[in-house]
Structure formats: structure tokens, C-alpha cells
């Protein structure tokens, strides 16, 4: 049995990792949780977040923060870093997607397929995790670390079935990492000729990577219910991201957790849609912005500040922003009056009701009195999301209790108030590391289910 469990959350914008002693589930002590400092060597950056980015430069390939810096400094603004690995790994026809040539905006040399660039990034990620684990005083002494990665339960196709394919890619990345070592971490990146010589040798040398799969919803269930005597048997997870709102549910029998696939609902509107609504509401109220240039400038300014605007208007019910010497204001009521927003809310409520009905039916059938609800992702702080998960369902049957997005244990005195503010960013990696084996969606090939 491994001493510790490490979970990688391979995120769209950032990758994160956390570790916990194996068996942390029973006799949980928050102090043992170790988020890994993947960017601990960088200045002026969140030490726990690793930028998910690869940039193909003229003669080198750069990774992470260096890739974004080089892309920004590049005189050719048509060249872009590759960032959407997670989306790519979630497509139903993975083999076909991976065999596609990288677009010329990403690879002007036309050398690399998408698979190559993902393998390169994963090699960089694995080496970064290795370095962070060695630098962590609790993990450095550990002999055996079992690894997991978190993925959405709702990604298209058969998530657990795609596990084998993903492990194959990680296997190639591991073979390349073993060949390159710390050269992968050089801020100037790796020379393309070194890569084109070493990468083809990595595939034949690759073995399926030893790594378990945990669903993100299960990871949320894990960090939400760990250490609680009244942990619910059923948990509905609302994940409002940028492009989609994904709702999934987990049921538990003893320590075993299993997904309720019928409760899986994807609503194809989320944060990006709300951004558009907010921008339009502000534009409509800004009567002074008449010319297309003025409107474009205001739209651009709004989109640049949108994260702060949303956070403020969700928390305080109103927000003020400055633009070209004017102070513009926006209230939650302005947003709620917008017809597009009303339609969005209707669709969101329908999707949630559909999923919740399945979960409550299952809880009722198993004689369970309560369903817990939790919101994760960028939309977790939105008042309409919090109100929906806190709402009492109509009719009899199991009641619904909303759980906080940040669990109480993240406020443990040992963290001196510093884990809770960053918990939402690290939550999935932490939950994935804490979950007992029974909660896994798929195991590494060498571990029998």
C-alpha cells in the first residue's frame, strides 16, 4: 500500500496537484493535506498554480508561465500558445483529435500533431510535480506515492473507458520526462531539434502510466464530506464554468461512492454567457456610448475587468467601474431584469430540477432522508446558484441541504486563515487526494478494481 496519494487536477487554465497520506479519510487531520507548490520557484505568482500552456517558438518550445510570457512578447501576434488540453482530452473521438496537426497559429513550423504537444506539456507537468514533491518536507521522505488525476464525469463519451487512452498519453509523457529530466523545466524551454529527436523514441519506450481516475464530482464529494459525521449519502454538484454548467451526482454506500449517470445534465450556458449579459446591460445603460468605436472600447474594457465586476456584483449586489473618466454602475437587479438572463435562469433551473429529481428518487429508494448540494467552479459564488442549491424542493421526500463551497476544515487554525481564500482553486486536487480508493472511477492497470 502506498504511503501517500497525489492527485493532479489538469485544469483548462491551470494545473494543480495536492497530496495526502493514504488513509487520510479515516481519522482526518486537515494539517496533513499538502497542496503542491508547482510554481514555487516563480516570482510574483500563485505558487500552487501551473499555467497550462505550450508555446512553439522559432527554435524552442516553452512551457507554463514562460510559454505565456514568450507568446506575449512575440512580435508575431498571430502566434498563439496552446492552452485547451483539457477540452481536447475530453472529446469523444480522442484518437482522431490527437492525430490532428496543430494549427499554424500554434505551430508555424507544421511539425507537431496535437498529441505531441500534449505529451510535451504532460512531461513538463510530471517533472514539475516531481520537483514540487521533492521540495515538500512531508513528501520528500515518502517512499511510495500513488497518483491520480481528476476529470469531469460528464465529459463526452465514456470517461472511465477513456482512462486507458489517457494513461497511454501520460505513459509517453513519462518516457519523455525520464529522458529529458530537469531540462524540461528550463525557463528558455527545449530546443525543437532535441524534441524531434527524443520524442519519437518516447512512444516505443512508453508503458501505461500508473495512475487512477477520480471524477471531479467525486473529489468535490470527498472534500465536502470528509470528517463529517453527518456526511450525506447523496451529493449533487453544480459546476458552473466558463462554457457549460455541468451537474452531476454522487451516491455513497459506506465508503463506496458511485456516480448516478442519469443525474448528469449539461446546460450549455454558463459564465461566458453571463459575461455577455452583463456587458450588454452596461452598454445599454451607457447612453453616451453611441459610436461603434465607443461601444467597442467599452465592451473591451468590460471584458477585461469582467472577473472583478462579476465577483463584486455577486457579493455586494452592485458594482461600480471606471471607464474613460466616467463611473459606471451595475446592480444585480439590472441583470435580473434582462430578458436573456431570465431565459438563462429558466434553463438553469430546469437542468438542476431534472438532475435533482433523479438524485432525490435514488435517495428515497435507498431510504436516505437528505441530499447535499454543493456549487463548485467560477459560478459557485453567484447568488442565483447559491439560492437554487439552498431552495427547498416541492413535495415530500428527501430534503436538500446546501454545503459551503469551502469546507469548514479549510479554516483550521493550522492554516492561519490562508487555505480558505485559495481553497476553491485547489479544491479538486485536494478532494482527489483525500478520497478513499472506493471512490475512484477507474484504477491504474496494475491495481485490480
Amino acid at each position: 500500500m502506498s504511503d501517500w496519494t497525489l492527485c493532479i487536477d489538469f485544469g483548462t487554465a491551470f494545473s494543480k496537484a495536492a497530496a495526502a497520506p493514504t488513509g487520510a479519510w479515516s481519522g482526518f487531520d486537515p494539517q496533513t493535506v499538502r497542496p503542491l507548490m508547482l510554481s514555487g520557484h516563480e516570482q510574483q505568482t500563485n505558487p500552487f498554480l501551473l499555467d497550462s500552456a505550450v508555446f512553439v517558438d522559432d527554435a524552442r518550445i516553452l512551457f507554463g508561465r514562460a510559454a505565456l510570457g514568450q507568446a506575449a512578447a512575440s512580435s508575431d501576434k498571430r502566434r498563439l500558445p496552446l492552452r485547451s488540453f483539457k477540452t481536447l482530452l475530453s472529446v469523444s473521438d480522442l484518437d482522431r483529435a490527437l492525430a490532428t496537426n496543430a494549427p499554424t497559429s500554434v505551430d508555424p513550423h507544421r511539425i507537431f500533431q496535437m498529441r505531441d504537444l500534449i505529451v510535451l506539456y504532460l512531461a513538463f507537468l510530471l517533472q514539475t510535480v516531481e520537483r514540487a514533491a521533492k521540495a515538500d518536507p512531508a513528501l520528500a521522505r515518502v517512499k511510495e506515492i500513488r497518483r491520480r488525476y481528476a476529470a469531469p464525469a460528464w465529459r463526452s463519451g465514456d470517461s472511465a473507458g477513456m482512462h486507458t487512452a489517457v494513461l497511454g498519453i501520460f505513459g509517453e509523457a513519462e518516457a519523455f520526462r525520464a529522458a529529458m529530466g530537469d531540462r524540461l523545466l528550463a525557463p528558455e524551454g527545449l530546443p525543437i531539434d532535441v524534441i524531434t529527436s527524443a520524442l519519437p523514441k518516447a512512444a516505443p519506450a512508453a508503458k501505461p502510466y500508473e495512475m487512477d481516475l477520480i471524477f471531479e464530482a467525486t473529489a468535490a464529494a470527498s472534500y465536502t464530506s470528509i470528517g463529517l459525521e453527518d456526511a450525506g449519502s447523496h451529493l449533487i454538484v453544480v459546476d458552473m464554468g466558463a462554457g457549460t454548467t455541468d451537474i452531476a451526482a454522487i451516491a455513497r454506500a459506506g465508503q463506496t461512492a458511485f456516480e448516478l449517470p442519469e443525474a448528469r445534465v449539461t446546460f450549455k450556458q454558463a459564465g461566458d454567457f453571463i459575461d455577455g449579459v452583463i456587458a450588454n446591460v452596461v452598454l445599454d445603460s451607457a447612453k453616451w456610448a453611441r459610436s461603434p468605436e465607443q461601444k467597442t472600447a467599452l465592451w473591451t474594457a468590460l471584458m477585461r475587468q469582467m472577473r472583478d465586476i462579476k465577483e463584486t456584483v455577486f457579493a455586494d449586489g452592485r458594482a461600480a467601474l471606471r471607464h474613460e473618466g466616467r463611473t459606471l454602475s451595475l446592480s444585480m437587479r439590472d441583470i435580473e431584469r434582462d430578458n436573456d438572463f431570465k431565459e438563462f435562469i429558466k434553463g438553469f433551473e430546469r437542468a438542476y430540477a431534472q438532475s435533482l429529481a433523479v438524485v432525490r428518487d435514488d435517495a428515497k429508494a435507498r431510504g436516505r432522508p437528505e441530499v447535499h448540494a454543493i456549487a463548485v467552479g467560477g459560478g459557485a459564488a453567484a447568488p442565483f446558484v447559491r439560492a437554487l442549491i439552498a431552495a427547498k424542493p416541492k413535495g415530500g421526500g428527501p430534503r436538500v441541504a446546501a454545503r459551503p463551497a469551502t469546507p469548514d476544515w479549510a479554516h483550521a487554525p493550522s492554516f492561519q486563515g490562508n487555505l480558505a481564500p485559495v481553497f476553491p482553486q485547489l479544491a479538486i486536487a485536494i478532494g482527489g487526494a483525500l478520497a478513499p480508493d472506493d471512490m475512484l472511477a477507474a484504477r491504474a492497470p496494475s491495481i485490480p478494481a
Partner: protein, 142 residues
């Protein structure tokens, strides 16, 4: 014949050895410090905004400018607090039974009920600043 190299002082050799080694990874710092750094990173930006907003408030020429600057300052401060995981306690103007463990009474005496004059601040379950409370009713004019 190549002349034997003059032995270098031990101290400078050690210095050179140290220079060859990669710098100790910053990740070796205590976890709680790194968490604090991460938590402060965004709060710092909001605080910096608040400082600039404060200057604008001080330099406001009329009531309208002052009101706008005040709104922006309050917003930046609230954002900085949220980024540090701080939450406000109580509702402004609410009348509540007086509880010395939960209220700071800012008038003389020990009332039965109080009115919240300024919200408190909490982090997790810990109260950092109690809500400031005054008398729930104004004394009748004599």
C-alpha cells in the same frame, strides 16, 4: 609544460561550488507561508486599488465626485477582504438582542437590544471584529 595552477583559497572554491548548484527551490518554504502568499497575491491588487481610490476621494472636488470615489473605495476594500477570506458579520441597522460576546456596544450601559451601527468581520468561525452596536432606540428628548 603547463604550470601548475595556483591553488585557490578554499573559501572562493566553496563559493564557486555554491554558485554551480541551482538555487534552493523556493518551494522549500513552509506551506502556510506559500498559502499566505497565494492568498495575498490578489488581495494586494485590491488593496493597491483601494489606496489609489482613497487619494481620489481626498482630492474629490464636489459631492458627486466624492460619492463616486467612496463607492469605488468601498468596493476595493470589500474585494481585498474577500480575497483574504474575510466575511462581514451582521446587517447594518438590524436590531438584535445584546450579546457581549457578539457585539461591541459603543454607548454606555448594558442594553437588552442593540442596533448594528457597523458590521463586524469574521474569518471562518473566528470573529476578528465584532459588529459595533448602539442603542436600539433613540432616547426621547427631554
Amino acid at each position: 609544460m603547463v604550470a601548475a595552477a595556483k591553488p585557490k583559497p578554499a573559501r572562493s572554491k566553496a563559493k564557486k561550488e555554491r554558485a554551480k548548484k541551482p538555487a534552493a527551490p523556493k518551494a522549500a518554504r513552509p506551506l502556510v507561508d506559500a498559502l499566505a502568499e497565494a492568498a495575498w497575491l490578489e488581495a494586494d491588487l485590491a488593496l493597491a486599488e483601494a489606496l489609489a481610490d482613497f487619494d481620489e476621494l481626498e482630492g474629490a472636488r464636489d459631492d458627486a465626485d466624492k460619492a463616486h470615489a467612496m463607492v469605488l473605495l468601498a468596493q476595493s476594500l470589500a474585494r481585498a477582504g474577500r480575497k483574504r477570506g474575510l466575511a462581514r458579520l451582521g446587517i447594518l441597522g438590524a436590531t438584535e438582542p445584546y450579546d457581549p460576546s457578539r457585539h461591541e456596544y459603543i454607548a454606555p450601559g448594558k442594553p437588552k437590544t442593540v442596533r448594528i451601527k457597523a458590521r463586524g468581520v469574521a474569518r471562518g468561525g473566528e470573529i476578528l471584529v465584532k459588529p459595533r452596536a448602539g442603542p436600539s432606540r433613540r432616547k426621547k428628548a427631554l
